[in-house]
Structure formats: C-alpha cells, structure tokens
C-alpha cells in the first residue's frame, strides 16, 4: 500500500475535493422537487462528473490509476447521499460540501485499508 507522504496527501486531497465538489454541485443543481429516482440518478451522474474532472486534474501529479477508485466511489456516494438527505430537509451548500469531504476521507481510508489487505494476498 502507499506509504509515501506526497502520494497519500495527493490521494486524500483528490477524494476530499471530489466530495466537496459533488456535494455543492448536487445541492446547487438538483431540485429536491424532482422524483426521488431521477434526483438520485442526477446526483450520481453529477458526482461521477466531478470525480472525472478531479481524477484528470490530480492525476497529472499523482497518477490516475490510483485516484480513480476512491474518487469515483466518493463522487457517486456523495451525489446520491446528498440527494437522499436533501429530500428529508433542505441542505446548505456548505453543509453538503462538508459532508462530501467527510465521505471522501472515509472512502479513501477504506480503500487504503483494502489495498493493504489485498497486497498481503499474493499467489
């Protein structure tokens, strides 16, 4: 698993940035008056778009292959999650961005742990 500070910092920054961008974009662009299914699909697609942009931008400095897993999962989950929360009560963009950052951090940590486990599994 990755242990070099430069790459860990880059990977975390990418996931957190994607989470913030997905959260704020969904709050700004998806209407909670849409049907739940349409809103969730739109949220997921917005999250994936934010992730794709983040992967390309951060990938230049840190390599895309290792960024795309946590970033894409972060984008999709944040997009859908913010829609689900927004349907219950209106969310401010700042709150949605903060929740997105949290999702990014958790997903990166889980992916790092999965990588550590899988690297032990060698045939």
């Amino acid at each position: 698993m990755e242990t070099r500070p430069y790459f860990i910092l880059g990977d975390v920054s990418c996931s957190v940035t994607v989470g913030i961008a997905s959260g704020t974009a969904v709050t700004a662009l998806v209407s909670m008056e849409w049907s739940m299914l349409v809103a969730m699909v739109a949220g997921m697609l917005l999250g994936m778009t934010a992730a794709a942009i983040g992967i390309i931008a951060f990938g230049l400095c840190f390599g895309m292959m290792e960024l795309h897993m946590p970033a894409m999962i972060t984008g999709m989950l944040t997009g859908m999650g913010i829609v689900m929360l927004g349907l219950q009560e209106p969310l401010a963009e700042v709150t949605a961005g903060f929740l997105g950052a949290l999702v990014g951090l958790v997903i990166y940590t889980l992916t790092w742990m999965a990588d550590a486990l899988l690297q032990r599994e060698r045939s």
Partner: protein, 202 residues
C-alpha cells in the same frame, strides 16, 4: 495491421506523456525498476509506447521494443538512444508479430494488454515467439474480483475504452487461456494493478 487501433494510439501519443510522465511514472518507478530487473537473454518488450518505461530498464540488456503506433515510437526514439544496452524499436501489431518461433527468452509488457483488441490471440502469438519454458512478465491494470471495485470498473469501462485502455479485463484469465502457466501474481494496487509472471510450457 489493425488500423483502427493504430489511429487511436497515434492520437493518444500527443497527450499520453502529459498524463503519465510525472505522477504515474513517479509513483510506479520503484515497482517497475524491480519488475524490469528480471530482464535477461533476448527480450521482447510489447507496447513500448512513448518510451516512458525505458529509463527503468536495467542496462546492458538485449531488447526489441514494439508498438502498433509509429507516432508513439517516434516519441520513444530519443529515450531508446539513451539506453545503455541494445534496444531496437519496431512498429508491429502484436497480433501479427513475424519473429520466428522460439526467438525470445522473455516477453515483457507494461500496461499493454488493456489495449490489445484481442488479448488472448495476442498472448498466443507471444507464446509462439517465446522459447519453450520462456517467461512472460506483465505489469498490467486489470478488472477486480471485489465489490464495489469490479462494479465501478465495468461502469467506467465504456468511457475509458473510447480514449484509451479497457479497465475491466481478466488479464490473468487471458494469460491462462492463451496456454501459459502462471508462476506468480502480485498485487501492486488493490487487485487492479498487478505483476503477472507466467511461463510458456516446455
């Protein structure tokens, strides 16, 4: 020659270095240097691209590097000239390699078989040009056996395929289907980036 694939990689040659040369190469250079250290005898390197891997090759080896794209090879030329050993570049489609059977002791690939249109056929051709007992060593990104990674890779694959490689292939399975015997598979990142060591049956 597969002109469609050639065109795709000719186009990619103009931006590949921008995306790969700094971040990805810097991250994987230590793994690649260790991976290429095993080069010995007459070596075929498939998918030399713009030559990003050449600085990681150990010196004084006898290598033929091939690629389907002449534009990629043009960019690789300066790196090949700086290599301290014998390194010859040729434009060849892996499906149509015309070396005599049993020419090579080893075949190396680095992020190549995510892009070969017919991977099993390509690997069968490589088995033919390897000596009996010759080694196939691959550094490849592949599909995953685990949820949610496999789900995500299949979801992203149609877009990835348009601009470059496929990201959900069962490359280890393809190696076995092409008639190689797996010696060792090591994960480099999750189970999606790995080194594969296989041998051509004697």
């Amino acid at each position: 020659m597969d002109l469609r694939t050639k065109k795709k990689w000719d186009r990619a040659s103009s931006f590949l270095n921008l995306f790969q040369s700094f971040g990805a190469e810097r991250r994987w250079a230590p793994v690649k240097q260790e991976f290429f250290r095993a080069m010995q005898g007459k070596v075929l390197f498939v998918g030399v691209g713009t030559g990003l891997d050449i600085p990681s090759f150990p010196p004084n080896r006898d290598i033929i590097g091939i690629d389907i794209s002449d534009r990629m090879l043009a960019r690789a030329t300066s790196k090949a000239r700086m290599y301290r050993g014998r390194l010859e570049l040729r434009q060849l489609d892996v499906h149509e390699i015309d070396f005599a059977p049993g020419t090579f002791d080893q075949v190396f690939t680095s992020c190549t078989f995510c892009s070969v249109p017919n991977p099993v056929r390509g690997l069968e051709v490589l088995r033919r040009v390897l000596k009996p007992g010759g080694e196939l060593r691959m550094f490849e990104h592949t599909g995953s056996g685990y949820f949610p990674f496999n789900c995500l890779l299949h979801l992203m694959n149609p877009v990835a395929r348009l601009i470059g490689p496929e990201i959900s292939r069962d490359t280890v399975g393809n190696v076995v289907r092409a008639g190689f015997q797996i010696v060792r598979v090591r994960h480099a990142y999750l189970d999606v980036l790995k080194t594969i060591h296989a041998v051509s049956p004697a």
